[in-house]
Symmetry: C2
Subunit: 156 residues, 2 copies
Amino acid sequence: MEFDYSTALTHAMGHVMKLHKKNVEYLIQDYDVYPGQPILLMRLANTDGLMQKELARRIQVKPATLTVMITRMEKCGLVERRPDERDQRISRVFLTDKGRLATKAVKEALRILELKCFEGFTDEEKIILQGMLERMHNNLETFYLENTEPSAEPNE
Amino acid sequence: MEFDYSTALTHAMGHVMKLHKKNVEYLIQDYDVYPGQPILLMRLANTDGLMQKELARRIQVKPATLTVMITRMEKCGLVERRPDERDQRISRVFLTDKGRLATKAVKEALRILELKCFEGFTDEEKIILQGMLERMHNNLETFYLENTEPSAEPNE
DNA sequence: CCCCGTTTGTTAGCTGGCTAACTAAAATGT
DNA sequence: ACATTTTAGTTAGCCAGCTAACAAACGGGG
């Protein structure tokens, strides 16, 4: 009656995501884009000019992490910071022209890879998978909140 | 006719895995075990005494990465290196008693989390998901090999 | 008006992943 | 038997993620 993690579904899922990441890196290697940046570029392509805190929240990363990434990307000329006029604490992040070009390439790479990844899948299967992922996410989030924020049921 | 990565299934899957990792980190925080180590400990619990290269291959990590991890874990007293008697280049990695204790706790945490993650899933659904993950893995691996090792069809 | 708490962002220092360049030991070949 | 190549592991230096401690700007209360 042993639990064998090597057969766990989350373990298999981790391997798939690792392989996906390796593929992304291969496809974007000719641009000045590093491993963590595609997801950030996709977010910026969608909505430019967010403040860093909000941007960090959207891509599920801590503000401190984003600071370093943005600084690097600014040096590469992919993005630029512009201070907010009203609130001097805030700096808003925008894509440069070079950034927009890189974003286009990254988006195409991700599109191709998504196609390849689900080759042979029916639309119905993809919908089923999406539903499962949502349920997993809910389960994990509930578990996390229950453990870290035992604010509910304070007594008894 | 735009591709929107925020709706991509791999994107959703990445979020699920991130949340999973956050939960693992929460559950093991009281032990001298760091984020990348659970998967390594699980492997060692399964088969002790592997040479580093083989161990790296099993957990899908480069040998250089493993060197640093093992060195740190050796300092923490979780594992120990023993030189191979026949081949002086090889060092084999073993769990210590402390390592075995930590492994037990990690395994329990992963078991609980796996249960929570798939709460509400039927056995059939889990089998379906497993099949999908295998197909995704195959698709991505095939794509990677086709691109990086165009050894097949050398001409024409 | 000024002090104090809050919010935004940065810096420092850690783990973990990678590649590239290196060392040392073993295996091979002439 | 010696030189060469191959293999295992390490080191250095990079990017990405985190936490903790900090600086600077905003805002509200007395």
